[in-house]
């Protein structure tokens, strides 16, 4: 989203065929509610702001929290990228992208550098985002304390009192049982020395990308009706013990079978014929870009 698009008057008569919908599907009242709650979330980094979650023509639990954020933020000048576990082409990513395209008529892209709004499930793009970009993360469970405390009333009090012993206890139990902190995704982080936050099920690899980032990260949970945010230049620190520090995933000696990259988050894939375990970039667009860049480099040398 560009800064000017936020000020633009709402567009009641979009010039695209699916004119049965308001621009970007949601009515202006709903968008205003979501924008207001988003501003509050930005003002209190890591704090979960309740919002009136709307029904969308996709099932809850399929990214409706993120989608509502995206739909209420985009203007005509925006360009949206949709990713599902690093992949632009999964069924889920395609259907969300289609819904955005059809109801707003705005451009979409697979290039993380080109997008102004990036809606993503389970990944932060490998490419470093900049100050003009917003990352929208889809969140299934916004409450980092939920698995130790079921009642919302109590988790709210625990946040208010900064009573985070219980979440440390879960990390401790993991060390006692397994010898290390085994949390793979959705690794709890402390946001600007105040709120402990669930960063959504991104791999630990992606946590550092939220710390002191140039871009704004918004997180939306449709089913749980919560919005929260990490504004630019905010401290996002994974919880760690003095003797069991936080570590990102290691891919020592492994590289992408397609682009050859050894510094991206790699997925494991099994070769159907040989049964061999191979690795490839989880961020498929970044992978393709790396290949393309190398090929044009080779071409320019040959020319």
């Amino acid at each position: 989203m560009t800064s000017s698009s936020m000020n633009r008057p709402s567009e009641q008569h979009p010039a695209f065929p699916k004119s049965a919908y308001n621009f970007a599907f949601l009515d202006e009242g709903s968008k205003r509610e979501i924008r207001r709650k988003t501003l509050k979330a930005v003002a209190i980094p890591g704090y979960q702001v309740p919002f009136a979650s709307r029904e969308l023509p996709i099932g809850r639990g399929w990214g409706t929290g993120g989608l509502q954020l995206t739909l209420s933020l985009i203007g005509r000048a925006d360009s949206v990228k949709v990713i599902d576990q690093g992949n632009d082409d999964s069924v889920n990513a395609v259907s969300i992208r289609k819904l955005i395209e059809e109801t707003s008529g705005i451009a979409t892209t697979e290039d993380a550098a080109e997008a102004t709004v990036i809606q993503s499930r389970h990944r932060v793009p490998e490419e470093k985002l900049n100050g003009g970009q917003i990352l929208v993360l889809q969140v299934p469970q916004p409450e980092p304390l939920r698995h130790v405390e079921r009642k919302e009333q109590i988790t709210r009090r625990l946040h208010a009192e900064m009573d985070y012993s219980a979440i440390w206890l879960t990390l401790y139990e993991s060390v006692v049982k397994w010898g290390s902190i085994t949390v793979g995704a959705d690794y709890p982080v402390l946001v600007h020395d105040r709120y402990i936050m669930a960063p959504s099920p991104i791999p630990r690899w992606d946590n550092p990308k939220l710390h002191q980032a140039e871009h704004l990260t918004l997180l939306g949970a449709g089913r749980e009706k919560k919005i929260y945010a990490v504004p630019p230049y905010t401290n996002v620190v994974p919880l760690q013990f003095e003797d069991y520090p936080f570590e990102i995933e290691h891919f020592v000696g492994k590289s992408c079978r397609r682009c050859g990259s050894a510094h991206t988050f790699l997925d494991e894939v099994t070769d159907g014929e040989t049964g061999e375990i191979l690795h490839q970039c989880s961020d498929t667009a970044f992978c393709a870009k790396t290949i393309e860049r190398r090929e044009s480099h080779v071409a320019s040398i040959q020319a």
Binding site: A166, W168, L169, Y172, F241, D243
Partner: protein, 298 residues
Amino acid sequence: MSLPSRLDSQQRQGAAQDAAPDERPILQVRNLNKRFGDGCAHCLPAHVEHPGNRCPRCGSVQACIDLNFDLYPGEILGVVGESGSGKSTMVRSLYFDEDATSGEMFISSCKNGESNLLAESAQQKRYIRNHVMGMVYQNPYLGLRMSYSSSGNIAEKLFAADHFHVGRIRERAAELLGRVEIPLGRMDEPPKRFSGGMQQRVQISKALANNPPLLLLDEVTTGLDLSVQARVLDLIRSLRRELKVAMVVVSHDLGVIRMLADRTMVLRQGRIIEMGLTDQILEDPQHAYTQLLVHSLL
């Protein structure tokens, strides 16, 4: 950050009976009131006694009425009274489990003993209950996370005091659990696999984790077999001897009070009706109600 590595604390003064008379109380409670319910214009004034202290109009209960007392370093104060007299409500209010309706509470090691802790912010209260107090509940399910390891239960209290070194936390947990005679090999077992007596001992070790000068114990031995009771009582006595920790011991069992308490408070319908040295209260009760209590229960 260094953990309180030793259980004993030599700085603390001896128990009250051999303390200098001008020694400062560790805990001062002034006009503590706790009402359950919103109250109404028809609620009877505090000085009028009425059954169960329940307002017939609005149903509010005056569980604690104008409680005043001091507790000295290393002293054990017994609290007796029939069921519903407000014993649990009193200690729960002191531990901030319940929000007192009015009153003041001062602890000498908090803010120089000059600030009413009942009026502190939620974050401050959390700090105080983790650093200065320990609580042992009658029902171990209230004081322990039954499915987490016993060492983790103690660790939770240490996290609250900003200790985040697993190695040192485990050393401290082993020391504390050892002190209450939980075998070292079982420190990572969840309390739900322990007997009732062991669970109470884990609760006690958890309450002691940050070396608090003040311990609140609510019916710790109720419901335990006699032999198991005796072991827990012995433990409490030896802890008091070693750690010089001051305690409020709630029990409706006068045997427990006789064995542990230096002084005893008798509660009836939310009020203190008699308070004094335990021997005097039990041997020579002044108040008719206390006489009844002593004779029917002894």
